[in-house]
């Protein structure tokens, strides 16, 4: 669980860095100091960053689940003590 948390945090960090870099590139290109060559390189980098960020934002697949409970309201668990879920039908 700790590992998963760390992973999540580093993922978030890289996302934030990518976003920060994007803003930086935008500012630099906006300032008009970059040459055409530099601008094209920056644009290429930005395009990759946008793809990274977009796919991170849109990555999650649609998953709607519900927990299963017994009559006492306790969660149904697997053998390794993880809650059992099932798809939730609308």
């Amino acid at each position: 669980m700790n590992d998963a948390k760390n992973e999540k945090e580093s993922e978030n960090l890289s996302f934030e860095l990518a976003f920060f870099r994007l803003e930086e590139i935008l500012e630099k290109m906006n300032s008009g100091t970059a040459t055409l060559d530099e601008s094209l390189k920056l644009y290429e980098e930005a395009d990759k960053l946008i793809n990274t960020c977009s796919s991170r934002l849109n990555a999650a697949e649609r998953k709607i689940e519900t927990l299963i409970k017994n009559r006492k309201g306790e969660l149904a668990l697997t053998l390794d003590q993880k809650p059992i879920t099932q798809n939730f039908d609308l």
Partner: protein
Amino acid sequence: MSAPQNAPPVLTVSQLTNAIKHCLEGTFSCLWLEGEISNFKLHTSGHLYFTLKDSGAQISAVMYRANAATLKNIPKDGDRVTVNGDINVYAPSGKYQITVRELRQVGLGELLLKLEELKIKLHKLGWFKKEHKKPLPKLPKKIGVVTSPTGAAIQDILNVLTRRFAGFELLINPVKVQGEGAAKEIAEAINQFNQYNLVDVLIVGRGGGSIEDLFAFNEEIVATAIFNSRIPIISAVGHETDHCIADYVADVRAPTPSAAAEIVILEKIHLIERIEIIQSRLQQMVFSLIKHARTHLNGLLKQPLFLSPYAMVGVPMQRLDEMRNRLENQMKQSLNQKQLMLDGQKKHLQSLKPTTQLEFYRQKLCTLEKNLNHRILNKLNSLRKEKLAPLVDMLHAVDPKNVLTKGYCILFSEKDFSVITSVSAVKKEQDVRLILSDGELISTIKEINPK
């Protein structure tokens, strides 16, 4: 036929009904009545029609629209209520009813009192303070929902998420949201999400309802579960005015489940919009940069240097051709020289050939021979000229013919062609022949004169 005398007066139905109306309405006005609602009907006109009953009797009731509008909650069958109103007789149907001005739920007072007490208690504990509010995750991966699986709330949440995003992860912990045991289920569900660390953010709520319906969200057990949750919680109890305790304790309060769903994905929507803006801005910039550069390039290309393909290479090309010509000439000259040298050598070699020498000597020999012959001939000729010529001359001199040329003539006898050398050999009148250098003459002797 005539009416019998002393007979009691006969009333019309209207007269009686009017008498009853006066009697009842005058007596039973502005009264308080308690009973249970049944046959409740909200007419399209906005007026409420229902029956108030208890175990032994019932009375029709109407609450006109203007009064009904003041109700916080629309009552329903089975509700125990206290109403304030007047008895009216409705003549057209011959019925009496109570016209309700004010309607109160029985027991509401106790409920509200309990809520206020809890609110004060939790407030004193500091549970509503800002410092306890946890920030919501900006980009939650998994969203937990504590609500009824069959209620409107979950549908509203799913609608919002579906409209906004193709993909999201949602985990529902199904609970009862009203009635007996609802509060306990809600609290347990919150605890379960925390215990198994199942989600990044929680929505706890239900759709709208009366204050009694929503009361589970005002119970201490739910407030405690919300306060103790490590997972940030958005309360989403659908009600218009009053906040419930859950709202005060939750990290964020949403007015409805739909709003809660919007809040959960707010940051995500912002980020997506921001990225879209950045993308389009960058594209615009790059396009305009490229357009600018292209215009610049086109301007450059119109310069004469670039218009003719030979403009740049023409001069070097000509120089190259010149150099090539010079090189070729030099090569030719050099070749010619060599050829000449070779020819000379060839001739020299030819001259050194033995057959040529032989020929040379043969010719020389030939020449010598000729010279020798020539000399001999010359010698002979000169000899002839030197020695023979005088002899010939002498011979010439003695030739009679030559003497004749000098004026001499020879006299021949006509008869016998004998030469007459003496005057005695001739006679007078004899014919003689005179031979001169260039012919003969026949003459006759006229005189003879010896010496």
